[in-house]
Each structure stands twice: as structure tokens, then as C-alpha cells.
Subunit: 165 residues, 2 copies
């Protein structure tokens, strides 16, 4: 089972910047990373006028775009898949999955916290909180990091989820 | 096994327009269509600056973008997957797959032919040719259609690949 780590926090706390740093550092250490980004309000991908875009517009349930270096897929869904369903359906051949955009989920969590934006931390009472990333004073029972501590946060992730493999 | 039909022909013969028409008509009859578009020279998808784009740029091997209505996936590949591999890996819950951009392949083929562009038809001697779509005089052993004969071409596809299911 591919381990999943969830990055949580309100908008504009720096979640995406943290994930970018973690992807770079974990990849640098030789592990393969997948990400899942959840957009509650839908998303646009592909470019108007491209063949794949035309296929979808004409009603294709699913379109695959293939090339020697990458493959893309766009698929209609009847529901908002649970994270485990997305993993089982779409993800293989990676060592870890980082997810962003799911507020409630049962996976280990790293919270990015900024007092002026966040009010109280979202996950202080969450059993699955493994770390908090903040520049502000907080009282939590988990390791606390600054946003530039990418190496140290990666150490924690590797220690908890990747070293045993 | 989901049936695969390949639309072939040189550039600017009208392949994409034909596929769009077929997707609409086959979907209209209650079947689910997937498409595979092959781009030998690679492709761009996603939009610069989006989180998913940042994930990939940071080195993510695979990125899933999920929403209640659609899911997209962009994945690095080590090779140009064969059509059957793409089907097995990425496609389910559809009735038929239409493919475009693969010149040589072992699947039933519909050739879109324009004399001024194509020279000789590509597939006259191809055992898997099931139809030719052209406005020009050609000598072939398979049914010949005009480009507006979407209903009739769909009849053929349904008859050959979908009626038995």
C-alpha cells in the first residue's frame, strides 16, 4: 500500500510551496512522488482547440493523450472519489503520495499554519497530525518546523513512511 | 476486452472532425466512448502556474487532479506505451475506444482519404481496414463513406463491435 501524507491548512498559508519543496527533496533522495490535488469546485485542464479538448467536448467519457515521455488522462466521474479510490484506480509505481485540498481525511497530516490567517490550528486535536509548519507560536504535541526546514520535514517523512520499505 | 477502432489518415484529411462526429453519434446511442490521441512529439497540458503544474515541475512522477465531476492524471512514462497497454492501464467503464495518431497498429481501421493530400490510400492492403471515408474516387474492398455519413459509419461500428455486447 503506497503511503499517503496529507498537507493541510487554510488558503494562502503556503501549502503549495511546502509541497513543491517536499516533492523536490523526496525525489532528490531517490523516491518517486505522486500528488493528488483536490479541487472542490472543479478544474480546467487541457487547451481549447486541441484534439483532446475536442474529443471531450464531443462527449468522450475519457480521453488519453499519449506520447513517448508522458501520458495524460481526463475522465468524467460520477462522484467525488475518495482518496483511497484515486490511489487504487490511478496510481502505481510511486513510493509516496502527497495530497492537498482535502480537509477531512484519515491520513497522516502536516499542517501549515499562519496565525493571522488560520485562527486556531485545524488539526491540534487530530490524532493523525505528524507535524506543524509555522512561524507563529503554537502549542502542539507534534514536531514543529519552519517553512524552510524542507530537509528536516523530509527526514521525518522518510523515517515514518519510506525507510521501512 | 474493450474494442478499439483506429482512425487513420494523413494530416489535414479531416480525422479529428470525423472522430468528433463519431463520438457524438456513438454517445447519442447510449454507448460510452474513450479516445486515445497519440502525439509522437510530446504534448503540453495543464496551465502554467496551477498547483498541479507546480507539482509536476517540482518533480512529481504523477499528478492526479480530482473534483466531483472529473479526474485528470499526468504521468511520466519510461516508454511509448502500446495501445493495449494504455487500455489496460488507464481505461475502464467504456464500450469502445477510438484512437488517432497511430499509423501502424493491429486494430480495425477507418481511413480518411483525400487524394490531393494522401497520394495513395494508406491502408488499401491492410487486412484490418473496415471502411474508407473520402470524396475522391478510390478502389477498395471495404465500404466507402462520405465525411458527412456519420450515422452510417456509426451503424457499421455498432454492427461490428457493439451490438454483440
Amino acid at each position: 500500500m503506497i503511503p499517503i501524507v496529507s498537507i493541510i491548512g487554510k488558503s494562502n498559508t503556503g501549502k503549495t510551496t511546502l509541497i513543491e519543496g517536499l516533492i523536490r527533496e523526496i525525489t532528490h533522495r531517490g523516491y518517486r512522488v505522486a500528488t493528488i490535488k483536490h479541487n472542490r469546485h472543479g478544474f480546467e485542464i487541457d487547451h481549447e482547440g486541441k484534439d483532446s479538448w475536442k474529443h471531450r467536448r464531443a462527449g468522450a467519457h475519457l480521453t488519453v493523450i499519449a506520447s513517448p515521455e508522458q501520458v495524460a488522462l481526463i475522465e468524467d466521474t460520477k462522484k467525488d472519489y475518495a482518496i483511497a479510490e484515486l490511489r487504487d484506480r490511478y496510481i502505481s509505481e510511486v513510493d509516496i503520495i502527497l495530497i492537498e485540498g482535502y480537509k477531512k481525511n484519515p491520513y497522516p497530516k502536516i499542517e501549515v499554519y499562519r496565525k493571522e490567517i488560520s485562527g486556531q490550528p485545524l488539526a491540534t486535536s487530530d490524532d493523525n497530525l505528524i507535524a506543524i509548519v509555522t512561524e507563529d507560536p503554537v502549542t502542539v504535541d507534534v514536531p514543529r518546523f519552519h517553512k524552510e526546514d524542507i530537509v528536516e520535514i523530509t527526514d521525518l517523512i522518510v523515517d515514518l513512511f519510506l525507510d521501512q520499505q
